[in-house]
C-alpha cells in the first residue's frame, strides 16, 4: 500500500494546477455553447481531454495513464472548473468506433465529436425493451442501398440537441433475438424522426422519446457487422456502467451534508447535535469512505491492467444507492424544508437534494436495474448459475 504519487506525477499535477489557475477565466458557464467548445479545444490541446485518443483522430495521443487521468480530474474538481466533455458521443460512441468502426467512420466522426461539434444521442432502450434490451423491436428493413427504420426509442437524453444518433435496430427479424440486431449511426435531422420530451418525476424532461417513421439510413452507416449490433453495443455499455455510481460525487455530497448539519438548526440546536441524526450521518460517512477507498483499489487494478472482477461489478449498485441515501438523508434532516421544491426563499441548495433524491432513483433503475445488477454480481462475480430457461 503506497498512496503517494511518484515525483513525475507531482510535476504533472503542478502543470495541471498551473493550467487551471491560468485559464480559469475561460471556463464556460453553459454546456451547449461556443465557449464550451472553445474550452474543449483548449483542453484537448493540453491533453486534459481526449487524452488517449490518437492524434490522427483529433485526440491528444498520450499513452493511457490512469494516474494522470485521476490527477486531471482531482485538480479540475478542486479548482471548480468543468472537465473535458463527457457526453455520450465522447464516452460511448468514440470508444466504439475506435474499436469497431471502419477507417472512414473514424476519420469522419471522431474528431468533430471530440471537439463538441457533433453531439450524439443513444438509441438503445425501447418501451418494451428495458432490462431485456435485446428484445428491441425497432425494425430496419432493406430497400436498395438503404435501411428503412420504423419504431420507437425511449430514455434518449440530449435527443433534442443531438446532431447524430447511434442506434440499435433489428435488421433480421427471423434470427434469435441477440443475433438480429445491427448498430447504425445517422443524423437526427433525417426525415421521419420525431423527438418528444420525456418528463420524469423530477418535473424536468431529462430524457426523450424518439419515434422513427420510414427513416432512411444508408446501409454503409452500420458500425461492425450486420447482425452483430448486440456485441457492438455491449462494448459500449461497459463504458456506461463505469460512469454511474461515482464515489467522488458521494464525497462531495457528504461534505455538503456535513456543512449543512453544522449550520442549519432545529429548535436552536445544530442538526449535528441531534444524536440520532449524527449517528445516521456517521454510518453514511463510513460508506462513503469505503466506496472512496474501493475506488482507489479499482484505480490500482486499472493501472496494473488487472481485472478487478467482483470488485468492479458492485460499483453501480452500491454507488447509486449510496448517493440516493445521502440525498434522502439531507431531505430528512431538513424536515419540512426538505420537501420544498420550486422557487422559494426557504429552498435549500436550490432544491438539489430533492431533485437528486428523485433522479437517483432513476439512476438506480436505469443502466441496469438494481435487480439486474444483483444478477450480474451473482453470475459473473460469484459464478452462480443463471436462472434456468422457462419451459413454456
Amino acid at each position: 500500500m503506497d498512496l503517494s504519487y511518484p515525483p513525475e506525477y507531482e510535476t504533472f499535477r503542478a502543470e495541471v494546477r498551473a493550467f487551471c489557475h491560468t485559464h480559469a477565466d475561460r471556463a464556460p458557464a453553459s454546456y451547449f455553447s461556443a465557449e464550451a467548445r472553445a474550452w474543449q479545444l483548449l483542453l484537448i490541446e493540453h491533453g486534459y481531454a481526449a487524452r488517449t485518443i490518437p492524434k490522427d483522430y483529433g485526440g491528444y495521443g498520450a499513452q493511457p495513464d490512469i494516474l494522470k487521468s485521476r490527477i486531471i480530474a482531482e485538480e479540475f474538481i478542486a479548482a471548480g472548473l468543468p472537465m473535458g466533455m463527457a457526453n455520450q458521443g465522447i464516452s460511448m460512441l468514440v470508444p466504439t468506433l475506435l474499436e469497431l468502426g471502419t477507417e472512414e467512420q473514424k476519420q469522419r466522426w471522431i474528431a468533430p465529436t471530440l471537439r463538441g461539434e457533433v453531439i450524439w444521442c443513444q438509441g438503445y432502450s425501447e418501451p418494451g425493451a428495458g432490462s431485456d434490451l435485446a428484445a428491441l423491436t425497432t425494425r430496419a428493413t432493406e430497400d436498395g442501398d438503404d435501411f428503412v427504420i420504423n419504431g420507437q426509442k425511449i430514455w434518449t437524453s440530449t435527443a433534442a440537441q443531438a446532431d447524430m444518433i447511434f442506434c440499435l435496430v433489428r435488421t433480421e427479424a427471423d434470427k434469435p433475438k441477440h443475433e438480429g440486431i445491427s448498430y447504425l449511426i445517422f443524423p437526427m435531422r433525417t426525415p421521419g424522426i420525431e423527438v418528444r420530451p420525456l418528463v420524469t418525476m423530477t418535473g424536468r424532461a431529462e430524457f426523450n422519446e424518439v419515434f422513427f417513421t420510414d427513416v432512411r439510413v444508408p446501409k454503409k452507416d452500420i458500425v461492425g457487422q450486420r447482425g452483430q449490433g448486440w456485441l457492438v453495443a455491449n462494448a459500449t455499455l461497459k463504458h456506461e456502467r463505469g460512469m454511474l455510481g461515482d464515489p467522488n460525487q458521494a464525497g462531495t455530497r457528504l461534505r455538503a451534508l456535513v456543512e449543512m448539519m453544522q449550520t442549519e438548526t432545529l429548535d436552536g440546536r445544530r442538526l449535528m447535535d441531534h444524536p440520532v441524526w449524527r449517528d445516521r450521518l456517521l454510518k453514511l460517512q463510513a460508506r462513503v469512505m469505503a466506496m472512496e477507498y474501493h475506488g482507489l483499489r479499482l484505480l490500482t487494478c486499472a493501472q496494473k491492467g488487472e481485472d478487478p472482477g467482483l470488485a468492479r461489478l458492485i460499483v453501480k449498485l452500491q454507488g447509486c444507492e449510496l448517493n440516493h441515501q445521502l440525498a434522502g438523508f439531507a431531505n430528512d434532516v431538513l424536515g419540512e424544508l426538505g420537501i420544498l421544491y420550486g422557487a422559494s426563499a426557504h429552498l435549500r441548495a436550490h432544491g438539489e437534494w430533492q431533485s437528486r433524491f428523485m433522479f437517483d432513483l432513476g439512476l438506480i433503475i436505469g443502466g441496469g436495474t438494481a435487480q439486474i445488477q444483483k444478477n450480474i454480481i451473482s453470475e459473473r462475480g460469484l459464478g452462480m448459475p443463471r436462472e434456468p430457461k422457462a419451459a413454456s
Binding site: 420525456l198 440520532v276 420537501i339 430533492q354 436495474t369 435487480q371
Partner: protein
C-alpha cells in the same frame, strides 16, 4: 370485540373512494382539480363536527378512513387541517357551522410545536394580537381563517385577511403549505383547545393518508408486474420482483392495524393517544417511503416517468413523512408520553 371497520365505515370508505375516482382521476389531479366540492356533498368537511353544528359528528377513525381514501387517490383537498385539526381546535365556536357547511376553510399553523422551529419562526401573542412568523401552515391555500399556535402552544384564531400568506411550493402539488407572517394581527384565543390533541389528530390522519397511498402503490406494482413482460416472462414471475411485492405487503398489513388502532384510540383512550398517534405517524413514515421506492422500482423506468404519474403517490408519501414532525422527532414524543425521558 371487533377489530376493524364498522359497516358504516366501510360504506363511507366506498362512497368516498367512488366519489374521488370520479371527481379527481389522475388527469384531474395533474390539472390541479380539487376534491373539495365533491366531498362536501358527502359531508366530509364536517366529519368531526357535532351534528348539532351541522356536521357528521363522527370519530377520528372515520376521518382516518377518509384520509386513507384521499391518499389512495392522491386527492387534492384541504382535509388534515381544515376537516380534522381545526374542528377540534374550534370546538364550541360559531365557526364550526360554517366549516361543516363547507362555506369556509381553515388552515392550521402548529409546525413549530409538531416539528420544531426552523427559520426563526415563532408567534408571540400580546393583548389579543399575534406577531411573528409561522412556517408550514397546512391547508393554507384558500383558507379563510387560521388556527395559529403561539410560542407557548396556546392556540388562536386569525382571519386570513389579516395574515401575509406565502405559499411554499413542495414536491407534493396536491396539498398546500404556506408561511404566515403576522404583524399585530387580531386574534381570538381558543382557550379550550389542546395543541397536543390537534397535533395527535393530524398525525393519525397523515399516517392514514400514507397507508392509503402506499397500499395503492403496491396494488399498482403488482398489476404492472403481472402485465409487463421482459425476457419472455411477465416480470411478476421473477422471484426478485415477487419478493419486493411481498415485502411491501408484509410492511403495510400490520401498519394498517396500527393506524386504525391509533385512530380508534384517539377517542376511546385519550390517555394513550399521544403515544399511539406518534407511533402511527412515525412508523408509516418509515415504511411508506420504503413502499414508495420499491413500487417505483417494480415499475422500472416507467415508474420514474411523469407518464404513469406514479410519482404523485411517491411525493404524497414524502410530504406526509415530513409534515407534523419527522419520524425521529415524533418518536421522541412517544418516548416522552410514556415517561422514557426525563424532561
Amino acid at each position: 370485540m371487533d377489530f376493524g371497520l364498522s359497516d358504516d365505515q366501510k360504506m363511507m370508505q366506498e362512497s368516498v373512494g367512488r366519489t374521488l375516482e370520479r371527481a379527481v382521476p389522475l388527469d384531474a389531479v395533474r390539472k390541479g382539480a380539487s376534491a373539495f366540492e365533491a366531498l362536501k356533498e358527502l359531508g366530509v368537511p364536517g366529519i368531526l363536527i357535532p351534528e348539532a353544528d351541522g356536521g357528521l359528528g363522527l370519530t377520528l377513525l372515520d376521518a382516518a378512513v377518509v384520509a386513507e381514501q384521499l391518499g389512495r387517490h392522491v386527492a387534492p383537498m384541504p382535509f388534515t387541517a381544515s376537516a380534522v385539526m381545526a374542528p377540534l381546535a374550534l370546538k364550541g365556536t360559531p365557526w364550526l357551522k360554517k366549516l361543516a357547511a363547507g362555506e369556509i376553510r381553515c388552515g392550521v399553523a402548529v409546525s413549530e410545536h409538531a416539528s420544531g422551529a426552523r427559520e426563526d419562526a415563532g408567534i408571540v401573542s400580546r393583548n389579543r394580537k399575534l406577531s411573528g412568523r409561522a412556517m408550514f401552515a397546512l391547508d393554507a391555500d384558500g383558507a379563510d381563517i387560521f388556527v395559529v399556535a403561539d410560542k407557548f402552544g396556546d392556540l388562536h384564531l386569525v382571519q386570513a385577511k389579516d395574515v401575509e400568506i406565502t405559499l411554499l411550493p413542495t414536491i407534493d402539488t396536491t396539498r398546500a403549505v404556506a408561511k404566515l407572517e403576522l404583524h399585530d394581527a387580531d386574534a381570538e384565543p381558543l382557550k379550550d383547545a389542546s395543541i397536543l390533541r390537534i397535533i395527535d389528530a393530524g398525525r393519525v390522519v397523515l399516517a392514514a393518508d400514507t397507508l392509503g397511498a402506499g397500499t395503492r402503490m403496491l396494488e399498482k406494482a403488482v398489476a404492472y408486474a403481472k402485465e409487463r413482460k421482459q425476457f419472455g416472462r411477465v416480470i411478476g414471475s421473477f422471484q426478485a420482483v415477487k419478493h419486493m411485492c411481498a415485502e411491501m405487503a408484509a410492511e403495510l398489513e400490520p401498519a394498517r392495524a396500527l393506524v386504525w388502532y391509533a385512530a380508534y384510540g384517539f377517542d376511546a383512550c385519550p390517555a394513550e393517544s399521544r403515544r399511539l398517534a406518534a407511533h402511527a405517524k412515525a412508523h408509516t413514515s418509515e415504511i411508506g417511503p420504503f413502499v414508495a421506492r420499491t413500487a417505483t422500482e417494480v415499475h422500472g423506468g416507467m415508474g420514474f416517468t411523469d407518464l404513469l404519474g406514479l410519482h404523485y403517490w411517491f411525493k404524497r408519501i414524502g410530504f406526509n413523512r415530513q409534515l407534523l414532525g419527522s419520524p425521529e422527532r415524533v418518536r421522541e414524543d412517544a418516548a416522552r408520553a410514556q415517561g422514557w425521558i426525563g424532561n
